[in-house]
């Protein structure tokens, strides 16, 4: 493989990386080739010792995605990281992705529960103002008690949602840590 083939294969696997980042990444390898040639090495020899262009490109891309997900926490960013791991041939990939989506479902349902509790509390508070609504069918139905009951249920729901937020945040950080551990240990095949 000569320089042209190497760079072509490398760039082909950098799809989805922003133009500036791509330029910077490519420049490093261009410089490596040109200095190597100045030192009297053959292109094919340099390309061979650099390693597999495809896995190098994936490695570079992965680093960028992880850094981005760390800097700005968003669902999209963490998803990109998780999906990029699929192309990295982790030995325990299916297992890891399975667990990720399982835990993600747990986090989402925690949020849903918190939200539902909050809404039902709010509903109680609102209905307390409509004495004519008789949906509890209680003889000694006390609207004031209903209102305050609604407040406590709504606050419980909010607390639950805050708790879910922290669980979600912890999950996010752990996912990044786990992926980092893997890319920094496993990747880079050859030799």
């Amino acid at each position: 493989m000569d320089k042209k083939q190497f760079m072509k294969e490398f760039e082909r696997n950098l799809k989805g990386v922003s133009r500036e980042d791509r330029k910077e990444i490519i420049e490093d390898y261009e410089e490596h080739f040109s200095i190597g040639k100045k030192k009297g090495r053959k292109e094919a020899e340099i390309a061979k010792s650099l390693g597999n262009p495809k896995s190098l490109a994936k490695q570079a891309k992965m680093e960028l995605l992880v850094t981005k997900a760390e800097e700005e926490k968003s669902m999209g960013n963490i998803m990109r990281v998780v999906f990029a791991t699929i192309g990295m041939s982790f030995f325990n990939l299916v297992f890891v992705v399975g667990i990720f989506f399982g835990l993600l479902a747990v986090v989402i349902s925690l949020f849903a529960t918190g939200f539902a509790i909050t809404v039902s509390g709010l509903a109680l508070m609102v209905f307390a103002f409509f004495p004519t609504v008789e949906f509890f069918y209680m003889p000694a139905f006390n609207h004031i008690a209903m209102f305050f009951g609604g407040i406590s249920i709504a606050s419980l729901g909010l607390l639950f949602t805050i708790g879910a937020y922290y669980v979600g945040k912890g999950f996010y950080v752990l996912t990044i840590k786990y992926v980092k551990l893997n890319i920094r240990v496993i990747r880079g095949n050859k030799k």
């Binding site: 410089e31 650099l50 390693g51 190098l56 680093e63 880079g188």
Partner: protein, 101 residues
């Protein structure tokens, strides 16, 4: 040697070489691959990461022969990190050595 093992010490190798002087990428790769055999291309992503994490700074300098070169320089934070990693490595290597005696 085991690939996973090599990857772990690569960071220490880079930081520790840079405590002596500033190197450009090719030089670093050359130096390291003389000692440990790795795919040379994996050093560049490592350098980029170390730079992003604030351990390294870069500057470009013209060279007499050929194109300008990107040099890597340790930051204060990088020097600190190197010390930490070196201590960790020494204590780890010491323990293993003891085990093998």
């Amino acid at each position: 040697m085991d690939t996973q093992f090599k990857k772990g010490v690569l960071e220490l190798c880079v930081l520790s070489l840079l405590t002596k002087k500033d190197y450009y990428g090719y030089e670093l790769v050359e130096k390291i691959s003389k000692t440990i055999s790795i795919s040379e291309g994996t050093i560049y992503p490592l350098l980029r990461r170390l730079q992003k994490e604030g351990y390294l700074k870069t500057y470009t300098k013209e060279s007499k022969e050929g194109p300008s070169r990107k040099y890597y320089q340790l930051t204060k934070k990088g020097k600190q990190k190197e010390k930490e990693l070196k201590e960790e490595w020494n204590s780890f290597a010491g323990k293993i050595k003891k085990l093998m005696e």
